[in-house]
Symmetry: C2
Subunit: 292 residues, 2 copies
């Protein structure tokens, strides 16, 4: 990304992390025995793509990203809850996440289970405690709960594929649409809602995010095969060790790369519906090209 856009991204990351801190210093999330595990995973240094998308879409449609901070925090909490549960032994059984011990390794399985449960709930509390009016709250919460349901459906499908000999490209893309795209779509739509966008803009944002999510997931699969262990923070080929079928393993790396390229271009096309789309174009390219 160019230096100006990189600074904007840093602002979004810092704003998100400060807002998460503020939640845990407030009545919204009183100190409990599971707070430490919740914060450990929230603060484990993700790329904050989802909250950044919330804030940037809010800025693009309204000029002010700060109106969307609570929605940004909420989506990051749902994302983190899903990672904590996804890493559990009965799921992907990953001991590391972003180069650090995963939540259940750092604490315990029961603590990780309950920290995930609590974060799922806290996301809703954050929106409910926000200054949005009741109508906006209902719309944001509906988007958030719909996306969470779709994401969980995607996780179930993902697991069910482990028991199968073969999975088609169509089935894998449908699963990615749920598991990966749901929260990314929700991020852009919540940003639009916070910024007061009309339905046409919301639909364009959703389509952009859908294409971005697919491109991102396919790149992630490719990276899992060819990537660099240090950069990713998890063992290379961990999906392969779990005998997980991915779009990269089904199509081969070359064809999968072409497909990712197609979705990237479709995502960039959708951004033409928005003025001041310079940051979003730069972010989209950087997300999708760093894996090349």
């Amino acid at each position: 990304m160019n230096p100006k856009n990189n600074d904007i991204l840093k602002t979004y990351v810092i704003t998100t992390e400060n807002a998460i801190d503020a939640v845990f210093s407030s009545d919204i999330a009183p100190e409990t025995s599971v707070s430490e595990a919740m914060r450990y995973s929230l603060e484990a240094g993700g790329k904050r793509i989802r909250p950044s998308l919330v804030m940037e879409f809010c800025r693009v449609v309204s000029g002010d990203y700060k109106k969307s901070t609570d929605a940004a925090v909420a989506i990051e909490m749902i994302h983190t809850f899903s990672l904590i549960h996804d890493d559990l032994p009965c799921m992907d059984n990953d001991d590391f996440r972003r180069g650090k011990p995963s939540c259940h390794k750092q604490f315990s399985e029961s603590t990780a289970l309950l920290a995930g449960d609590a974060l799922e709930n806290l996301a809703f509390k954050v929106i409910l405690a926000s200054g949005y009016d009741d109508g906006i709250k209902s719309r944001l919460l509906s988007e958030l709960s719909d996306a969470t349901a779709r994401m969980i459906d995607g996780q179930v499908k993902d697991l069910s594929f482990l028991e199968r000999e073969s999975v088609s490209e169509r089935e894998l893309l449908e699963m990615y649409s749920l598991k990966t795209c749901a929260l990314i779509e929700c991020s852009t739509v919540m940003g639009c809602i916070c910024g007061g966008a009309d339905e046409t803009k919301i639909a364009s944002a959703r389509e952009y995010a859908h294409n971005l999510g697919l491109a991102f997931q396919i790149r992630d699969d490719i990276l899992d095969i060819i990537g660099d262990e240090k950069e990713l923070g998890k063992p290379i080929g961990s999906d392969a060790d779990n005998q997980k079928i991915t779009i990269a393993s089904v199509m081969g790396i070359e064809k999968a790369s072409e497909l990712a390229e197609k979705y990237s271009n479709d995502a960039l096309d959708k951004l033409e519906s928005f003025e001041n789309n310079d940051f979003l174009k730069d972010l989209t390219k950087s997300l999708l090209e760093r894996y090349k």
Copy 2:
């Protein structure tokens, strides 16, 4: 309970179960690979105390219980999610629930984990998809998410006690206030909100529920020691097998019974704030006396 009140209770149970069915036949919960596990646990035949309290409090303050059906379904979903996760091997490791295999035994650990996650989310979706106005939705969702956070905090405390040599009565009662009372309080308060009750009535309902919850949990602990395996549907002394410290094991059965009696009487006293409290008195007595 007398026959008339028993009929009312049956109406509430049937209304709840029909409303749960209706959710799964609607767009609120589209069919997914985890729907079967969610419904298995929801339909496993609990006593439906929480939804019945929602509906009765709504009726007592407004004359019409049907206004509260969505809130009743939501609280039963949160309760069921908590039971599914509570039964998991990393938690209480219970193979049976209500005389049937627990969710992870019937399906798998990962399915049970995700079914619980999905039910936690679906509770919010049910309220969001209801006909309540946005202001009422926000109030109900705030109560629901506050109660869920407290319940999870209680589960964490409960687990932490397993690692300890001794736990005081005060600590146990505080844990029960969170783990058991939070959802019962939320039930009565949501019923009041759906029925348009004022803050004084809401405060009385909350106090009633707090005392009922403590009395109920202490009776449950006593029953775990002296109860009949067939009636409970889980092995006698399963808490003791897990070396779990309960108020009955700390105080002894006799003193614990006296304490439960005190909370029962306090609960009944609080019902004097409500007219037409005949059903609630009868329900309260039947809940607390069947374990004698």
